[in-house]
Symmetry: C2
Subunit: 216 residues, 2 copies
């Protein structure tokens, strides 16, 4: 039931928090100290009232005519997301998608540290991809029990997804970031977050359809 | 203002539609004719009431004790998403992420057809990646005006994102699927959909934090 602790209607706000963090760090890097909700709204392409609602999650209130203190807001968002500390993770499946995640600097900026990658392909085992060593998938269980990471990033082919998941769960992984098309079966105390590229395509398609001038 | 035509509170439902479509096609492939909302709820890991709300978008109602007609539901979702016909697209930036999108079969199943890819790297130009020809980015404008695609998938480095976007917009592209970390500036009649990997990480982190047993 713990997955219900965060109301599902807050998830769109949670999804936007990294984009705020990116913007706020940029502003902070330029020496800015305060920011207004209309400014954030313009940059985020959403309405100011929604910005204020999103930022309630970080438990930071703006001051009229001054705006939000940028440093407080960054700290509030990081605390809410649990991104103050580094998140250690394993990545399984070093195909093109897996490799692109290993090279994603934005994720590193948000505290994700992929400490090891795994693949079944002997040509990839022993290599280093974007600074991350690639091990044989057969060693997943052994290294999981030794290194105690709590997040695994799953980029294997769909047909292998559940089998790898079973190994991950048996080894104590508590969060699986699922980049496969499979709906994974996991025990109640394990969190899965499915990334579905088609979701973004759906939103784009719907907006495009609504945006078309009538054809007659 | 056309971007507001679809209420923002419907977007989480829209994002889930491809996953329904995936499930429904699987069931249909197994010869099933009807499906219940509790079954879909279990597979989607959400509540049945939310399933019924999501499927209202497809304008299909279930029948008590019988459930939803799978064929009608598939058609209703495809119509809502505008996925009955093929969506032609260009992809710009054939790095690891771009290449993984070119190879994503799930997106093809949903009607996305990437007809050409573009890169500035002379070693990639002339190659074929997952069946898609790679052209020199210098030819983007010329090929856009010739082929009339309405969607561009943007996978270039962040520093080049706005410049490429300006070319796309000037050539009449109406939808940009943005995989860069840049917030793109576009005219009002152009739709952008930003994919931010960090959004998924945020949701996973928050759920994991809420899921932890109290430390004392």
């Amino acid at each position: 039931m713990s997955q219900c602790a965060l109301k599902i209607d807050k998830l769109p706000s949670v999804r936007r928090l990294p984009a705020y963090l990116h913007l706020l760090r940029e502003l902070s890097g330029k020496g800015e100290q305060f920011v207004s909700s209309p400014y954030l709204a313009e940059k985020m392409h959403i309405e100011a009232i929604l910005v204020r609602k999103d930022l309630e999650l970080a438990r930071i209130n703006g001051t009229p005519r001054v705006g939000y203190c940028i440093a407080d807001l960054i700290k509030g968002i990081e605390d809410f997301l649990g991104w103050g500390e580094t998140l250690d993770a394993f990545l399984v499946g070093v195909g093109q998608l897996g490799a692109s995640i290993l090279g994603n600097r934005e994720l590193m900026n948000f505290g994700l540290k992929i400490v090891a990658a795994f693949d079944v392909n002997p040509r990839k085992v022993g290599a280093t991809v974007h600074g991350v060593p690639v091990f044989d998938s057969a060693r997943l269980e052994e290294l999981l029990s030794r290194l105690q990471v709590s997040i695994a990033i799953l980029c294997v082919p769909a047909a292998e997804a559940q089998q790898v998941t079973d190994v991950l769960v048996a080894s104590g992984v508590k969060g699986i970031w699922n980049f496969t098309s499979e709906n994974l079966a996991v025990p109640e105390d394990v969190i899965t977050q499915k990334e579905d590229l088609a979701s973004g395509l759906a939103v784009l398609s719907v907006k495009l359809t609504r945006n078309k001038p009538p054809t007659h």
